[in-house]
């Protein structure tokens, strides 16, 4: 145990004595979260929606058809009660629910106006905004082309409601993504670099010719970064809570546990990278290209996954960050518990085990 603690202590010395490491560890996360607190616009296709038709007459059918045949939306659920609306949103598949009031056609004929409610999941502020705008313009077109063209002075009043994030704050979307990105980068990149550095400096040669086994070497390397990454995650959450006033609806302890799991996953990925690289430069390149870019582009952080080409959607399923973003959004914005995000949690845990087993297998006890 003393051997191991000696090793961990040495790692902390390395970190605290290198100003560049310190800058990447603590300067970058704060800068990124502040920079990414802005919105990037994007487009939509094939958004899954639900329809709660209280009236079920020919007009509501026609409007539903118009919406689903527009190419932007896919009708995935027919709902039958108000309660179900909340439920389908929690599942996270459906982005928007359209509610027709009862006796829709009748009211339209009798009073000349009827109401439609458009409810959107605004935890992803951009998508919610775009989705509701599209829906409204389809309804407006229908009124103009079908009703007014026939000389019917009817009016349909859409009422838009944003669920979970009614102020449409873009930062809600960026905080989870930035958190994933930073933890991935700090944990995976820094560990892989620090192990590669031992190889590059030749100290690995001396470590190998010591009674220290590979596992303690690797774990000793990882622990300091685990501690520091966790501090980082707490800083990010605190920043988003106090600076951007992002809510934390769910259990904070649960959120931190999930974060810890993600950090652990990123660290094991870092170890795996280091087994494949003999110099700091190679480790950094692999981390950059294999981790940072895909995490930014394919995890749903910047571009919604449902708008990607099929191939990229496939790729995104192997991005650990994708699942972490879903988890963080659910916990922070919707207040979900393990009952909702168990699947994502399991996937990340599985990836962790996979990376760990791979890296222990690949760790060389010799120089070749």
């Amino acid at each position: 145990m003393s051997r191991f603690l000696g090793f961990v202590k040495k790692e902390f010395h390395h970190i605290f004595r290198d100003p560049r490491t310190m800058l990447i560890l603590f300067g970058m996360p704060i800068a990124q979260i502040l920079i990414f607190g802005y919105v990037v616009s994007n487009e939509i296709t094939d958004v899954k929606i639900g329809v709660y038709d209280k009236s079920k007459d020919h007009v509501t059918h026609e409007i539903t058809n118009k919406i689903t045949s527009s190419g932007f939306f896919i009708l995935s659920e027919n709902l039958n009660s108000d309660q179900e609306i909340e439920d389908v949103f929690k599942k996270g598949i459906i982005r928007e629910v359209i509610v027709f009031e009862s006796n829709f056609a009748e009211k339209l004929e009798r009073d000349g106006s009827a109401g439609i409610q458009i409810i959107a999941d605004a935890s992803d502020a951009n998508t919610a905004n775009i989705v509701t705008n599209y829906t409204q313009s389809i309804i407006n077109n229908y009124v103009k082309n079908e009703l007014l063209a026939q000389g019917l002075p009817y009016e349909i009043v859409p009422e838009v409601r944003m669920l979970y994030n009614d102020e449409l704050k873009g930062v809600y979307m960026f905080v989870p993504g930035t958190m994933a990105l930073i933890l991935m980068l700090v944990s995976a990149m820094m560990t892989s670099i620090s192990i590669a550095r031992e190889k590059e400096m030749g100290t690995m040669e001396v470590l190998l010719v010591s009674p220290l086994k590979p596992l303690p070497i690797v774990i000793g390397k990882v622990i300091p970064y685990m501690v520091l990454s966790f501090i980082n995650a707490v800083v990010i959450i605190a920043l988003s809570y106090f600076v951007f006033e992002m809510p934390i609806q769910g259990n904070l302890v649960f959120l931190l546990l999930e974060t810890l799991l993600f950090i652990f996953m990123a660290l094991s990925l870092g170890i795996l990278i280091s087994t494949a690289s003999n110099s700091q430069l190679v480790a950094m390149f692999i981390s950059m290209f294999a981790l940072m870019l895909p995490t930014m582009l394919l995890s749903g952080f910047i571009f919604p996954i449902e708008n990607m080409p099929k191939i990229l959607q496939w790729f995104s399923t192997i991005m650990p960050a994708r699942y972490f973003i879903v988890i963080v959004k659910n916990i922070m914005i919707k207040g979900s518990g393990i009952g909702i995000v168990w699947k994502e949690t399991l996937i990340i845990a599985g990836m962790t085990v996979f990376f760990l087993v791979m890296s222990i297998k690949k760790f060389k006890v010799r120089l070749e």
């Binding site: 003393s2 051997r3 603690l5 000696g6 090793f7 202590k9 040495k10 010395h13 390395h14 004595r17 290198d18 400096m201 030749g202 100290t203 040669e205 001396v206 470590l207 190998l208 010719v209 010591s210 009674p211 220290l212 006890v365 010799r366 120089l367 070749e368």
Partner: protein, 304 residues
């Protein structure tokens, strides 16, 4: 005293297509100071890395303290102290932190083995708070040696410990090695400096992955078997060319400010040689018979 510490039998090592070590055999007795002497690229580092279990041998059987380097590598690793060719300590840790770290990973403390390293460590102890990266070359080597010794290994393996170190530090370093040998530690050291061979009990002369000769330095010098002259003039370059053109001259190699020359004939007529060189306009000619040293032997073995 004659027990075997390291036994190497027909060791071969290839990197992809290149054969770096071409079947060498030697053994190091316990308590011996054994030197692998040869120029850069001769295969010294490969041999030492295989003995320290860091590389696999392509062929051959190597045992360290009766343990096989492939099968029992874990056992060997606890019994050897290894100092790689490059300075491989943590440059961003202080002298004392480095030593403490290596003591701890070997499950010991500085105090426990202080006797063993006292001689060496006392030189650098005044700088124990300095970062290792800021030490001079000689001090770095002393620190590396202290770290390799901190767990009191049975065998010390040093890969070119004095390369890039000034002459005074080199001398000090070898004095330390000899004192360690007196404490009963087996030492296997590689070096490109021929003059260091004389300080070893036995040496193996290595060239291009082959051992040319293994023996005590005295014996190797005794086997030289030719008389040797040191020749000098004001124009060394011209002198090399002129001497090589003379048919009674066997070999000519530069050695410091002199040329070391052997003859085809039993003896060399110094006055005759002087007059020949005078005719070729050489000035300040000096010729004297000298004793052969290891480098002369190495050159002789190389040309065979």
């Amino acid at each position: 005293m004659n027990e075997i510490a390291v036994e190497v039998q027909n060791l071969k090592k290839s990197y992809e297509k290149e054969e770096a070590v071409k079947g060498v055999s030697f053994s190091v007795s316990k308590g011996e100071l054994f030197g692998l002497i040869g120029p850069d690229g001769a295969g010294k580092t490969s041999i030492l890395r295989i003995i320290t279990t860091l590389l696999f041998p392509t062929e051959g059987k190597i045992t360290v303290l009766d343990s096989d380097v492939v099968k029992d590598y874990k056992k060997i690793r606890t019994n050897i102290g290894y100092m790689p060719q490059r300075f491989s300590l943590y440059q961003d840790l202080s002298v004392e932190e480095n030593l403490t770290f290596f003591a701890r990973i070997f499950g010991t403390t500085i105090e426990e083995n202080y006797d063993l390293i006292k001689d060496i460590y006392s030189h650098i102890e005044p700088f124990k708070d300095r970062l290792a990266g800021k030490l001079s070359g000689g001090m770095k080597q002393k620190l590396a040696l202290s770290c390799a010794l901190i767990h009191s290994p049975d065998i010390l393996i040093l890969d070119e410990p004095t390369t890039g170190v000034d002459a005074v530090s080199r001398k000090e370093f070898w004095e330390m090695l000899i004192r360690l040998k007196e404490k009963g530690i087996t030492i296997l050291v590689s070096t490109p400096y021929m003059d260091e061979a004389n300080l070893c009990d036995r040496v193996a002369l290595i060239q291009n992955g082959d051992i040319m000769s293994i023996d005590t330095p005295e014996k190797i010098i005794g086997d030289f078997g030719q008389k040797l002259w040191a020749v000098k003039s004001n124009n060394i370059y011209q002198l090399i060319n002129d001497l090589r053109r003379l048919d009674f001259i066997d070999t000519v190699f530069p050695f410091g400010e002199f040329l070391h020359v052997t003859s085809n004939t039993e003896d060399l007529n110094i006055t005759e040689l002087k007059s020949i060189l005078n005719e070729k306009n050489h000035l300040g000619i000096k010729i004297q018979q000298v004793e052969a040293n290891i480098e002369d032997c190495f050159m002789q073995l190389m040309t065979k």
